[in-house]
Amino acid sequence: MRTLDPQSLTQHVDRLYRAAWALCGSREDAEDLVQETFARVLSRPRVLRSDDELYYLMRVLRNTFLTGLRTASRRPVTVATLEDVVTADPRPMARPAEALEVQELYAAIATLPEDFRLALVAVDVLGLSYREASRALRVREATITTRLFRARKQIVKRLSPEPPSSSPPPQTPSQREERNAGGVLSGEGAQ
């Protein structure tokens, strides 16, 4: 057991931000979530049972995220106009193509069911081991494995382009007539 060194936390800001972004689906909400997470962690001295503080941060991030969700579900929808105007993020991301991919990926993750999302964020985004993730999310390791498997499947499905159909769809009689008429008018089949 050891007390958490506050100064060591600054090295995790980027990773935690990415995890929060994937959880929330928006950069602005991710910033709020990370700020709140650190404010919670730093509100009093903490004692860790292991050397790795990242899993502990993930646990606090998860709790903060879930508390926020519960609060949000209870409150009425707030006016969006002012918030949008004032806090719209003007920062362009450095590499547009990559930015698009990051946004697309995180947005897809954010649409996953909560349990799947948390598992995927803990392991794939934050880089925790299955064991650490299970401790951070307070579930069995086998549950993490299952949720992760399903979460990845769902994301792949969502991000995959529509597969080309192997056989053309059945045509209606009118479609067949149009096709035939088109062929005649364009000179197809004319000798």
Binding site: M1, R2, T3, P6, Q7, L9, T10, V13, D14, L16, Y17, R18, W21, R27, E28, E31, D32, V34, Q35, E36, F38, A39, L42, S43, R44, P45, V47, T71, R74, R75, P76, V77, T78, V79, T81, L82, E83, V85, V86, T87, R91, M93, E101, V102, L105, I109, L120, D124, V125, G127, F149, R152, K153, I155, V156, L159, S160
Partner: protein, 226 residues
């Protein structure tokens, strides 16, 4: 390549793990400020002894003792009065209104007719928040005037201004900067509040079930508009 085709999940994991998006500088600064505040607090409570030489168990015990001492000091002294004042002001923003809402000022654009020491309450009807009531309290012998606003969906927030100077020092939460002004974001028991200074007067805008972003946007609206 073939692995990606056969196992598209492997490609997905690769893509997710390759993302190295850095958090915004502002967020880094906020976290560093929080850490610095925490470290300062620890030094004040624990002294400047060489903590690194201690063993883990001794450090743990010391932390426990320090925490216990801090609790005793807080209980004996009645807590930090400045923080308490900010908390009390924030609490005033949740109480019921006792007087009707002030009207829009015809002389000052974007302001209500009500003001404290020349610091006027903002007129936010144009941005979806209408003034719905007001009240006055006396906290630590100083007047706190609060105007309440109601949002389009019935949300309620209070905007309190503490009369006189100096303003009590606020602590905790997160400090963010908007339009060159520092704002402190606090959250306690589901009540979010933003604390800042206008002409040296302490202002608090707070509400239950309203996001920090919304409160911050409203609090900084005045500086942006004027």
């Amino acid at each position: 390549m073939s692995e990606r085709l056969e196992h598209p999940e492997a490609g997905l994991i690769e893509r997710i793990r390759a993302i190295d998006e850095r958090a915004p500088e502002e967020l880094h600064r906020h976290v560093q400020a929080l850490v610095a505040e925490r470290v300062r607090g620890s030094r004040v409570r624990g002294g400047t002894g060489s903590r690194t030489r201690w063993s883990g168990r001794a450090e743990l015990m010391a932390a426990g003792v320090a925490a216990a001492v801090a609790v005793i000091v807080l209980v004996l002294s009645g807590g930090d009065s400045s923080t308490l004042s900010v908390r009390e002001i924030s609490a005033a923003t949740l109480r019921a209104s006792t007087t009707p809402a002030p009207g829009e000022s015809l002389r000052k654009l974007g302001a209500l007719t009500e003001s404290v020491d020349g610091v006027s309450f903002p007129y936010w009807k144009g941005v979806g928040w209408r003034a719905s009531g007001a009240r006055s309290d006396t906290i630590d012998g100083r007047t706190v005037r609060t105007v309440f606003y109601t949002g389009a969906h019935g949300e309620r927030i209070g905007y309190a201004i503490l009369a006189g100077t100096p303003a009590p020092a606020a602590s905790g939460g997160v400090v963010v900067s908007r339009h060159g002004h520092p704002y402190r974001l606090l959250s306690e028991d589901g009540v979010r509040s933003v604390v800042w200074l206008r002409k040296g007067r302490l202002c608090v805008v707070a509400g239950r079930g309203v996001s920090s972003r919304m409160l911050l946007a409203l609090a900084s609206w005045h500086e942006r508009a004027t």
